[in-house]
Amino acid sequence: MDGFPILSLMLLVPLAGAIACFFVNAGTARAIALAATLADLLLGIALWASFDIGGAQWQFVERAELFAGFGYALGIDGIALMLIVLSVFLMPICIAASWLSVKARVGEYMAAFLLMEMLMIGVFAAQDLFLFYIFFEAGLIPMYLIIGVWGGDNRIYASYKFFLYTLLGSVLMLIAMFWMANAAGTTDIPTLMSYDFPAGAQTWLWLAFFASFAVKMPMWPVHTWLPDAHVQAPTAGSIILAGVLLKMGGYGFIRFSLPMFPDASAQFAWLIFGLSMVAVVYTSLVALVQQDMKKLIAYSSVAHMAIVTGALFAFNVQGLEGAMILMLSHGLVSGALFLCVGIIYDRLHTREISRYGGLAINMPRYALFFLLFTMASIGLPGTSGFVGEFLSLAGMYEISSWLALVCTTGIILGAGYMLYLYRRVAFGEQVNADAAAMPDLDKREWAMLIPLAAATMWMGIYPESFLAPMRADIEWLDQRIGASAPAGDAHLALPSAEARAAAIEAAHEGGAH
């Protein structure tokens, strides 16, 4: 693949598809969208297959100077690769999920999705600061339209909230970018990642980026746009929102905040930890009392993302790798959970939990998939959620036992709200006749759920496939931030020889001799 502009091609395919979708009827638009996303999936697989693990840090690099130092520069490392693969994997599923349920303005809808795919890939592949910014912010527009045009009854309020939160943060980030470009004299992201900004400046730059990424994550207390956006978005919108858009915040932290401002990151780690701890407990408890399925899963996303942020700022390999795997896992699992909600929403047109019940009787296969993703969401070992959560929490423990303790309560609360949800939907008697009459999965739904289930298990049982491409990049990052890393709170003190002997003596006192 040397020299072949595969990344540009991956941007071009959905863009061309999007343009085509404007000019054709509904059926053709669906077909074009599916074909384009599948083509991009194949390209993504080719990208993964030809990525040289242990090779150059940046691969598939493409550069073209445009004007005034502003360049078109693409290139990926292992971290970006994994997020691109996640994006192209979820897109065909999104298209399939909208196959029947979207009936109005199908062409525009498909175009919006294809455009978004292009922009998402662009975000992860961009190597120029401003190119990144354009992709990052423009990605909001199709999502904004998807919620605002094809959303539920309260879509205007939801899209307004989404827009307000995300745009406000990004203004600050843009200003920071200008300052950085001036100070460092380059807009090249790999160069900036090794550039040492003065400590005083780092503080302000970090805060400016934080404003944008915290909203995208979303972190408490700027999370309230997410539940509304999810509730109002169509199923596919929720999948892509939870699956990929939320990952942009985490990607931002790992690509910008940590390597570019390591001192400030260490300085503000307490802030991240505080917000993460609050978020895990707070949003988990809020999830417990939700009556709307999508809202419940949305709040659970906030709780999971809080574990990601805590782990990212743990300043160690386990935390960083755990955060990445948890992001990938959450992309699959919460996407799958929103799909599960969408499947029954298509049948009954309500997200009210109490309108369902006893689905394990009339939809046993559906109940099985739902169970799998529920278990993955609460981090059952053997599923992807466990690997991410376990490494994340292990990383956190190395830096702060309080952080680890509070965030680990998420495994208790998570089990509580997810199993409570599952019980109300799948268990019990069939109390609603219309819910009891719903047919089990059809072929299209099988085709969407099987790949998600397989990927979830794969990542849980053999995560090496996903860890290996990122290993060198995480190690690089760990070294880059290592000098600034705050000390852990464990302060292990090894015993003196006498103390050890005394302890052994104490252990064997009594009748043992």
Binding site: F70, F130, A138, I141, G148, R155, I156, Y157, F163, L164, L167, F178, P221, Y282, L285, V286, L288, V289, Q290, N316, Q318, G322, G358, L380, P381, F386, V387, F390, A394, Y397, L405, T408, I411, I412, L413, L419, Y420, R423, A426, F427, G428, I461, Y462, E464, L467, E475, D478, A490, H491, A493, L494, P495, R500, A502, A503, A507, G510, G511, A512, H513
Partner: protein, 688 residues
């Protein structure tokens, strides 16, 4: 392919075939596949144990697959076999195979049999992964896997609200323990830089006396690590404080109770402490805590067991109590005795549960012992099997002859070890253990007398009434929602017809089919002989354990040298318990009522299980929901949104005007403005 791989993965394969095949392959095929797989696993497991009985056989590790390598944290899928594992293999596969077979009869009328058998096999696989783990994380995988299977099986009759509630409770309470387990693993990794069990155990003695900060407190490293891990063990093994899920777990079908909630899963905590015994030996304070918690659980559960009327709940509390014995055995350093009791208990407790299932089967799903009576002659095989189980659990045996039922050997070894250890905690454990032995004898014989002796009291049972009036096999039998109505309110029935005069209501209990009786007979043999046959190896043979657990030779020596009264005390209290039960339920059946009248407070306290459920509801469950609502309505909606986006909207445009402007028709123009603004800003900045 090594035999251990077959032992472990065959049940998984069977579970997948039966579970995914489900209705497509039908009940019979699912039963054949799963039961067949388990008998193969069982047949392969016994030779492994027999090899180890020879002594001085080293452990092996069969690598399976890489799992995670993240910086210094490396853990892989692998199957470790040593003496400790071999003991567990035999327990798990034997009981599981017999329970599979038993379920052919017990679940015969259930329409969801493939699902049931798939869950059983899945459970077995997870349990086997737990005991073959060579690192803490794979142990945690098995730990959570059995938790999942337990959740699914407790909630097997998912239509019943009490069953699905019990399933959630089991999972969530276990997760509280898992919090400790996970933190324990993290801490262990922090201290030792590895999660590999052999490496940790090798390094553990060197860490004794070191200190570490945890939650701002300066603590002894090994103590805090062991206590965190022990919290995990407390959850899985239903120790005092985290025991509340176990009685509710009786909502699951009875074979499940026998396999998971008596013989195998609940003993995982004991297994964990034994597996990590060199770690615990480096943490004397943690061992004292294990001893005290075990002893308190032992006595607590025994007291509650004396007042329960549901046959399965009596046995459930009995299990809880026996697990307490195992823990304080481990706590005093007698890991061999703990494992020995685990081993014998697996046989006689599975036997008691399956026997109870056979009684329930005979009595048309009635579980309340108050409506049993006089079943001795009606279901003789079940009766004799239960008798063997009761003799084993109460520890019948003669010290002078060195001859007794299984529990005699293991329980007496534990009590002697507790006495011989000679620390404050161990004396407490000894005293409580002796008292619990009295209670064990009492509640076990109470169960026997109420069920098999006296006059029939069947006519007061709703289930029996139902059977008599609607025929014994009416269509309702197939409605899973009605089966095993555990924990129901006392029945208030007025019986007027003649058949009721003798208390039988004209009902004819029937002995269980042969597939249910075979497991009872096999387990009876275990309950009778397992103690005598394996006593020497488990207690006295360091060569047998060969380093797989910490072997305290001094303690074992001291154990044999305890005074005579210590050796005879368990026997004497067993007789006292028997005598009280005989007096109260055979000689003078009015006596219990008199006791209840006299000591109403004590009775109510015990009957309500020391009010743990009410307390936890008040402390945790209701506050969680209350806080959730407040955070949502006050925090998110009332504060963040009000002063955040909604406030901004009011400031910017005056609320309603903005809402009026932002109609869907304007969306495109808004999007366009956003895009243009973006481009303009960048162009301006660059051109500047």
């Amino acid at each position: 392919m090594s035999s251990i791989s077959i032992i472990v993965f065959l049940p998984l394969l069977a579970a997948i075939v039966a579970g995914l095949g489900n209705r497509a392959i039908g009940s019979f095929a699912a039963k054949i596949v799963t039961t067949g797989a388990l008998f193969v696993s069982c047949a392969l497991s016994w030779p492994i144990l027999l090899t180890y009985l020879g002594g001085d056989v080293d452990g092996t590790v069969v690598p399976v697959l890489n799992w995670v390598r993240s910086g210094g944290m490396v853990f892989d899928w692998a199957l470790r076999v040593d003496t400790l594992t071999a003991v567990m293999l035999v327990v798990i596969t034997t009981v599981s195979a017999l329970v599979h077979l038993y379920s052919w009869g017990y679940m015969d009328e259930d329409p969801d049999q493939p699902r049931f058998f798939a869950y059983l096999s899945l459970f077995t696989f997870a349990m086997l992964m737990l005991v073959t783990a060579n690192n803490l994380v794979q142990m945690f995988f098995g730990w959570e896997g059995v938790g999942l299977a337990s959740y699914l099986l407790i909630g097997f009759w998912f239509r019943k609200p009490s069953a699905s509630a019990a399933a959630i409770k089991a999972f969530v309470v276990n997760r509280v323990g898992d919090l400790g387990f996970m933190l324990g693993i993290f801490g262990t990794f922090l201290v030792f830089g590895t999660v590999s069990i052999p490496e940790i155990l090798a390094a553990a003695p060197g860490m004794a006396g070191s200190s570490i900060t945890f939650l701002g407190m300066r603590l002894d490293t090994m103590t805090i690590l062991c206590l965190l891990l022990f919290i995990g063990a407390m959850g899985k093994s239903a120790q005092l404080g985290l025991h509340t899920w176990l009685p509710d777990a009786m909502e699951g079908p009875t074979p499940v109770s026998a396999l998971i909630h008596a013989a195998t899963m609940v003993t995982a905590g004991v297994f964990m402490v034994c597996r990590l015994s060199p770690m615990f030996e480096a943490a004397p304070i943690a061992l004292a805590v294990v001893t005290v918690v075990g002893a308190l659980t032992c006595i607590f559960a025994a007291t509650v067991g004396t007042t329960q009327t549901d046959i399965k709940r009596v046995i459930a509390y009995s299990t809880c109590s026996q697990l307490g014995y195992m823990f304080f055995a481990a706590g005093v350093g007698a890991y061999g005795a703990a494992m020995f009791h685990l081993f014998t208990h697996a046989f006689f407790k599975a036997l008691l549960f399956l026997g109870a299932g056979s009684v329930i089967h005979a009595m048309h799903h009635e579980q309340d012992m108050r409506y049993y009576g006089a079943l001795r002659k009606r279901i003789p095989v079940t009766f004799w099997a239960m008798m063997a189980g009761t003799l084993a659990i109460t520890g019948v045996g003669l010290y002078a002859l060195h001859l007794g039922f299984a529990g005699f050997y293991s329980k007496d070894a534990i009590l002697e070890a507790a006495f011989a250890r000679g620390t404050e905690a161990s004396y407490l454990a000894f005293a409580l253990g002796i008292f619990a032995a009295l209670l064990t004898s009492f509640y076990s014989w109470r169960l026997m007398f109420l069920t098999f002796w006296g006059k029939p009291r069947w006519s007061q049972s709703e289930h029996i009434q139902h059977a008599v009036h609607h025929g014994e096999h009416d269509p309702d039998d197939h409605n899973p929602a009605r089966q095993e109505d555990a924990g129901h309110d006392p029945h208030a029935l007025v019986v007027a017809d003649d058949a009721a005069a003798d208390g039988t209501a004209g009902y004819h209990p029937h002995e269980s089919p042969i597939v249910m009786l075979i497991p009872l007979i096999v387990l009876s043999l275990g309950a009778v002989f397992a103690g005598g046959v394996f006593n020497h190896a488990f207690i006295d043979s360091e060569a047998f354990w060969n380093g797989s657990i910490f072997y305290n030779e001094g303690l074992i020596h001291a154990l044999h040298e305890t005074p005579m009264w210590v050796k005879y005390a368990p026997f004497v209290v067993m007789l006292i318990g028997l005598a009280i039960a005989w007096n109260n339920y055979i000689r003078n059946p009015a006596a219990p009522a008199g006791f209840v009248e006299k000591f109403g407070g004590v009775y109510t306290f015990l009957k309500n299980k020391w009010y743990f459920d009410e307390l936890y509801n008040f402390l945790f469950v209701r506050p969680a929901f209350w806080l959730g609502r407040k955070f949502w309505k006050w925090g998110d909606v009332g504060f963040i949104d009000r002063f955040g986006p909604n406030g901004a909207a009011r400031v910017v445009a005056g609320g309603s005007r903005l809402a009026a402007k932002v109609q869907s028709g304007y969306l495109y123009s808004y999007a366009l403005i956003m895009l243009l603004g973006l481009v303009a800003a960048i162009s301006w900045a660059i051109a500047r």
